[in-house]
Symmetry: C2
Subunit: 197 residues, 2 copies
Amino acid sequence: MDSSKILAKVNQIAALDQDETEFFESLLIQRPFRQGELIVKSGDPARYMMFVNDGYLMTYYTDKEGNDHVVQFAATEWWCGDLYSLSQSPTTPYATKALTDGELLLLPRAGHLQLLEKYIKFEKYFRIFFFNGIIRHQSRFVENHTMTAEERYQTFQATYPNLEQYVSQKHIASFLGITPEFLSKIRKRLFQKAALT
Amino acid sequence: MDSSKILAKVNQIAALDQDETEFFESLLIQRPFRQGELIVKSGDPARYMMFVNDGYLMTYYTDKEGNDHVVQFAATEWWCGDLYSLSQSPTTPYATKALTDGELLLLPRAGHLQLLEKYIKFEKYFRIFFFNGIIRHQSRFVENHTMTAEERYQTFQATYPNLEQYVSQKHIASFLGITPEFLSKIRKRLFQKAALT
DNA sequence: CGTCTATTTGAATGTACTCAAAAGCGGTGG
DNA sequence: CCACCGCTTTTGAGTACATTCAAATAGACG
C-alpha cells in the first residue's frame, strides 16, 4: 500500500515519529474505485474518513425535491469532504461519487478514535486540520455573498485547475449554486469576451 | 470574574479537573464593552479568542467597494467568530462590533498555545469545537444553495430567536446576503401573509 | 428642534431560473 | 460501421427573484 501521500500530508502539520507512523499505517484500508462508482450513498452508516490517494471524487447532498447539490470536490492528496463520518450521527446525509478511477485510503472511525487516544499528535493534527477547514469555509461564505455566478465560476477554475476535464458542467453548476443552463450561458459569454482579444 | 459560563461550555465537551480549570481561568482576561463599540478593526493584529460572557456582537468583512458583509452574529455563551485570531496570519480581515453592552472573556493566543501544550484535554476540546464548526458551515452552505431569501430569513429568525431586537435590518440583510431594501419587502410580504390568518 | 441614519416604497433594471426544444456526444447493439 | 438511445449541453422565450436608484417616511440622538 502506498501511504506516502497521506503521511506527507500529516507530517506537514504534525511530524510523526516511527511508532506513530507505523500505528497510523496499520489502521489504513486500501479501497480502489472506478469512475462513476457511488462510494457512499446518502443514508449509509458513516464509518470512514477518506483520503484520496489517487483520482477525483465529489460529495453531494440531495434535497427533498430530489435535486443534487455538490458540496465539495476532492482531488488526489485531499481528504474527502464527508465529515459526518466522524460525528455522533449514525448515518451521513451526503453521498460520495467517483469522477475518475482511483484509490482511497480509509481510516475507520474506530481507528480514528484509537489514534486520538493513543497519540496526542493526532489530536493536534485533526485540530489544525479542522481549523483550516473552518477558515476555508468562512472565506467561501464571503465569496458567495460578494461575487456573481460568473466570478464564482472563474474562482472555481483558478482553485481547481485540472478538475474541469473530469467533471460535467451539470456538477460544476451545482457546486456554484446555479442551473446548468445558466452556466452554459456564462461560458458562452466568457468565450465571446476572450475572442475579442 | 464570572467564568461559570465558559467553564460550562468547555466541560460539555471535555470535563476539566481542578488543575486544568484553574490554569484555564488564570489565562482569561475580562473585557467589558459598550453598545456600538468596535472591538476589533479589520487589519488589527489578531491576538485573542473571544468568548461572549454577556451581550451580543457581530463579525463582518468589508470588501474593496467598502460594503460590509456580516459573517456571523455571536450571543451570550458563544465563542465569537473571528478565528483568524488563531491562525498564522498576523492580522485579521474581519471586524467585530458590539450590538449591546456586555462582556467578553479573552483568551490570548499565547495562552491558547500554552493550554494546548500543557493539557491534552484542550486539544480535544478545540478539535471537537472546530469540527462542530465545520459541520455547521457545511449545512449553512447547503442552505444558501437551496433556499430563497425569504426562507433564509425565516431560518435566521428560528436560529437566533432573541437577536432581531438588537440588530438593524441592514445587518440582517447583509448576513442573509441580500440588500436592506429587499429584506424590507420580504418582511412586508410576511406581515401581509400573517394578517390573513 | 434639526440632523443623521435606517427603513419603506415604487419604478426600472439585471441576474438567474423554468420550461421547452434542438443539438452534441458517447456508448451499445445490430 | 452505423443507427439508435440516453444523457449532457446549448439556445431561446418568458418569468421570477433580487438589485439599483431615487424619493419619502420614520426613528434615534444630541
